[in-house]
Symmetry: C3
Subunit: 261 residues, 3 copies
């Protein structure tokens, strides 16, 4: 049962306290480090090529987020992926703004191509841009707004051997064997910067602790977000409540609230 | 009537959800992105020259903030201003620390000189440093502490064709045709980092949605700040309440609280 | 009496509002700037070599934190230390992650060697890594988990002429003449990113205002942290409450709560 998998994964993160290396954007570094700590993991925010081989040798996962992409950082990102590969550690790619510039689209694809063990976490637009023309739907599939993104995700699964998390009002976890839908979260979340980035960081923690699908992180984030929204008066208080919510989340709350299909 | 202009401008931001490109300092990236989201706009925090032409082609304004100025970033800032000019988009300059170093003063002037459509938002000291010797008062004008800054702002208006917002205990909006005073806000605000930077970011959102004077952003920030202060126990809770306050601000509150002259 | 020294130091910070230059990591720039403001100091977050001579000429202390160390920044850090020396200003070194990579260990030692007036603030692991083999205990000293770190701190005191603050569940302030233990703080603090970095920043403010031992900053941080924890439901609300707590801290609370030995 999926719920047991998720509850077990959260327990593993809290028990193992995995080290997660994050090469992420300036905007969310603080929030994502705090989210990782709150869920029980140990964030390392490191960006220097000179120390990346050492960092990846004792860490459990690598999260690469291109939110404030700088051409100077691209070779560092690729080198970090190589070191993750060499250490057989999973890579989580957050292709922020993929499609908004050629630099972002091409860098995302370079990273996806290079990573041996890959989870991609993006919103529908980013996932479609990453897949590009290869995954254009023929129209007939498009029964709802997420159909195109799911088709794109399936392409990414086959092209890169990746597992894909499409986050949004509904989250879709797409793997070679499975497709799961999560309907937690809250409408306030798009008004808070870095919610997707936070999910990507958490995905790194759960991957380091053994869940390579992205499912457990998305479930924890969605349920914690739902609880946080109930205690918030706006996006400022939501951010605080989300961190508290990740820290305080119980198995019972997960079981009671999880909307999975 | 100014109040109607302000209320209309806020409605436009919430309706249009304008994209605002921010090349800003590391300290405030998270806060300013969250303030832009809370007020209804869409922040893009991007810094790479390689993608700036694309970013400015579909965005509504460019905010340049030199708070953590790095010589590597200066050519990127100037290139972004050129792209804003080419797309006829307004540029908001926040000359953080202007006067504290030659690098900051000269960079601020280079940006001001280059921008075709410019709003400058700074505190009194920064505005005076930006104007420099050209705007020194003769002493007789100096009836209150803001007189010198207003003289400096008038110089900047004529020299750069800019509109100028001097923020502080009292805000002054200085344009070629008008001079407006706002007396909202709260004494806690100087104890929270990035309040000026947040106003500059909001000024970008309102400029993208049609208000090129800087008035509406300053009014919204001042009133939201006043409401936030009433709900706060210190600068930590103020930051949260300000974000919530920008999100929840109503036309009625604006009308009831606005202190304008 | 130590309490009087601490209370006096807090009063000096609030009265003098010292300027503190911070070359710090991306993750904590916002928090540390806010902590400095909340305690009454004036943060400058500046990183350009081109302006560092000017910045150090009118500032009271330099805080160097290697949390997101980049080889591009190392020469800037060393130049800033030279300018601090030239202006006879204290340097606070936060050797984040010292021992986790050769780059961090060597850079920390280069900075420590260069600074004329130095306070080092780290956790036990960082302090031991910075001291390295030179400070290995012989086993017999190791009566509790902090013994090794205190031996390492004593080595750093003699090697670099530094004062050393080891922060953790118990804080140890080690100087040439004294060794003080503080037992304030709360178990939630390791779940919030940048708590050590915040203490380092505060140490800069207190050093600029006259306390070169690191004691007053650690005492203020510990007591404010303890108060904040009582008002928190998790690490998100703790961060907010800490900022409020630094702002609102009274001499009476300090006197009532300080656990010093």
């Amino acid at each position: 049962m999926k719920l047991d998998v998720i509850i077990n994964a959260l327990g593993q993160v809290r028990e193992q306290k995995p080290l997660v290396v994050n090469i992420t954007n300036y905007v969310v570094m603080n929030n994502t480090a705090n989210a990782l700590l709150a869920v029980g993991a140990s964030p390392i925010m490191a960006h220097s090529k000179e120390e990346m081989a050492e960092m990846m040798s004792f860490s459990g996962a690598l999260v690469i987020n291109i939110g404030t992409l700088d051409s100077v950082w691209i070779p560092r990102m690729l080198f970090a992926v190589e070191r993750a590969n060499a250490n057989k550690k999973p890579v989580i790619l957050d292709p922020v703004g993929c499609g908004a510039s050629t630099l972002r689209t091409e860098t995302s694809r370079d990273i996806a191509r290079l990573a041996d063990s890959l989870i991609i976490r993006g919103n529908a637009s980013e996932i479609m841009a990453l897949a590009g023309e290869n995954a254009q739907t023929k129209g007939v599939d498009a029964q709802d707004s997420s159909s195109d993104a799911i088709v794109a995700a399936r392409f990414l699964v086959s092209e890169y051997g990746a597992n894909v998390v499409i986050s949004g009002e509904t989250d879709h976890i797409v793997t070679a064997d499975d497709q799961i839908t999560l309907s937690n979260g809250d409408a306030i979340m798009p008004y808070v910067t870095g919610m997707g980035c936070t999910l990507s960081a958490l995905t790194g923690a759960f991957a380091a602790a053994g869940d390579h699908t992205g499912l457990a992180a998305a479930a924890v984030m969605g349920v914690a977000g739902e609880i946080a929204a109930e205690k918030s008066q706006g996006p400022g208080s939501f951010q605080l409540q989300l961190t508290d919510g990740l820290y305080n989340l119980t198995d019972d709350e997960l079981a009671k609230r999880l909307k999975i299909a």
